[in-house]
Symmetry: C2
Subunit: 344 residues, 2 copies
């Protein structure tokens, strides 16, 4: 994720000038085959050969509410699209085996942006989930760039690790970044947007130099995909991808399991309180959002796999969430209620 501005100033043809088949050819040229795909892109559907049950998850990102092209290079956006969907597969304890990607965009979008996006999708798969790749998708038109991704995973004969399996007495652990992606978003709004909240790229180079980890966590995160299978093999009783903030997602896991998660602020601060050369406040860890780490619950006697830090305990059901033993009201994320800076 270095030198992020290299692909930010696209020249060359637009989508409209190249047409669908030309665009498709350029995108397909950038995709590596998926290991379990017996039929890749080009037919009515792709064909995958999983060994066990199949997990499937979808997520759509829309320009404006979910990303801004002034901040996200095509490569970073493709990387983030793959990474966030792979993370949901990992959180079931499955191995990612394929992505489908539907892109809808304005006719005047530069083709180069989508070429970089394809490269980012491919690089994220190869880096975070080797053997996984883009197996299909479609292209269409929309007033703003819209990317819908579906990720498939193979449980390989294991049972899925659900949100609902935690028991009182279990240990709560976390793997991945915490609070860093939210810090990155704050930095972008503070220093790469107008006072009216419109994103611009003028100070991005500076920001990347000063805060490389926070920017990467926000624009092109690298969730610990492989640790999902590790946790499943080590007997994790419950697991989920943290995308709406640790506090809110821990409350959800507790509710699904009929227990209450008790997060330990001292352990959180010890493990995640300093990153990128600066202090991350507890509040940012609890409600930062877009962390895409693995909130995982293990039986008390299990030795945690490398990469996981203990951050709390599972208690009998009481409040929706405890922090340091005391009830904590998790702040919620609702895409329809949030007003973004720059909204009409």
């Amino acid at each position: 994720m270095q030198n992020p501005s290299a692909d930010r100033s696209e020249t060359g043809p637009t989508v409209e000038e190249l047409g669908e088949s030309g665009l498709l050819a350029r995108i397909l040229a950038r995709l590596s085959p998926a290991a379990t795909a017996t039929v890749g892109p080009g037919d009515d559907a792709a064909v995958l050969r999983p060994r066990g049950e199949v997990v499937v998850t979808s997520d759509t990102m829309v320009e404006g509410p979910d990303f801004r092209r002034a901040w996200h290079s095509g490569f970073e956006l493709g990387w983030k699209l793959a990474a966030t969907n792979l993370s949901d597969v990992a959180a079931m304890g499955a191995r990612p085996i394929g992505l489908t990607v539907s892109i809808a965009c304005p006719a005047d979008l530069p083709v180069a942006y989508l070429e970089r996006l394809a490269e980012g999708l491919d690089a994220a798969c190869r880096t975070l989930a080797p053997g996984c790749g883009v197996v299909g998708g479609d292209l269409g038109r929309a007033p703003v760039l819209t990317a819908a991704v579906t990720a498939l995973g193979d449980l390989g004969g294991r049972r899925p690790v659900l949100r609902s399996g935690a028991h009182a007495g279990d240990v709560v652990a976390y793997a991945g970044d915490l609070g860093l992606a939210g810090l990155g978003l704050s930095l972008l709004f503070d220093r790469a947007a107008t006072t009216r909240g419109e994103a611009h790229g003028r100070t991005l180079g500076e920001l990347w130099t000063e805060h490389p980890e926070a920017l990467a966590a926000q624009l092109a995160p690298s969730p610990p995909i492989g640790l999902g299978i590790e946790a499943a093999k080590r007997g994790a009783t419950a697991m989920m991808d943290v995308s709406d903030g640790l506090a809110l997602d821990a409350a959800r896991l507790g509710e699904a399991s009929g227990v209450t998660i008790d997060l330990d602020p001292r352990r959180l601060e010890a493990a995640f309180g300093e990153r990128d050369g600066e202090r991350i406040p507890l509040d940012a860890m609890l409600s930062g959002g877009e962390d895409h780490g693995l909130l995982t619950v293990f039986p008390a006697l299990v030795r945690l796999p490398a990469g996981f830090s203990a951050i709390g305990r599972v208690r009998p059901r009481s409040a929706p969430l405890l922090v340091g033993g005391r009830p904590h009201e998790p702040r919620g994320w609702d895409p329809y209620l949030v007003r973004w800076p720059g909204d009409g």
Copy 2:
């Protein structure tokens, strides 16, 4: 697909007024479980238990280029989203086992429209592909209503039927509607749009009364999903979903197989030349688009399964396409090149 205007005038709360969790609850209440889903909506991913290889296909529909709310009730849009994706699964010879559906919409969209959409998705699955259902998805914001669907299918131990398996001498057959969806779209533009091409619903009731089959084929098609498996079992050598017009898709199948499809205009006219009480011209059959029937190739000695009509023969590779033995230039569909009436 009768009484289509019943759900067209939505009242009640908007998406913004209800919020994500309330909306999600109302949508989930309208979905039937999928037979092979061991974990349905609500966790990081759904879990499916296929018996054989898995097929996966995605398609996105965006308000404006792909549909108009003045014409499509929520129920019809949901039905069409499911039907068109199920058709791609069928065209591989697979049984549909699950859909994921990502909806992004403006905050002021009436919740009732999405409730009807969920009912349409569910009804189409139950009617066209019993045992299949919506297993997951997500909700987000977009400037216009955007629905991204991924469909999964189970090959049940059979091999997929690809576009590339046709041999010279094989019989070309078709199952489904042909030209009818294109006729429906023409009728809508002629009689339910302003002179500037803006869609309105004022004459929809009339149109539905006069042309029920053409309107249904366009707004809520019923592709022959079950016939995909029938064709595979009967030894089909190649198969594809016809979505961009028979001529263009037949040329694609020919190219993928290294052969040339020769369509027989007399057989086409005999089998598909009259529907909905009126004559469908050959040109409409060849380039109507959105037919979502199964273009299927069988060995010459196979007796065609019920529902299929022979419409041509496979010849050694020559022109991209023959019609009545003579070269035919298929007209193409390109989402980035078409200018819709009403475009800016």
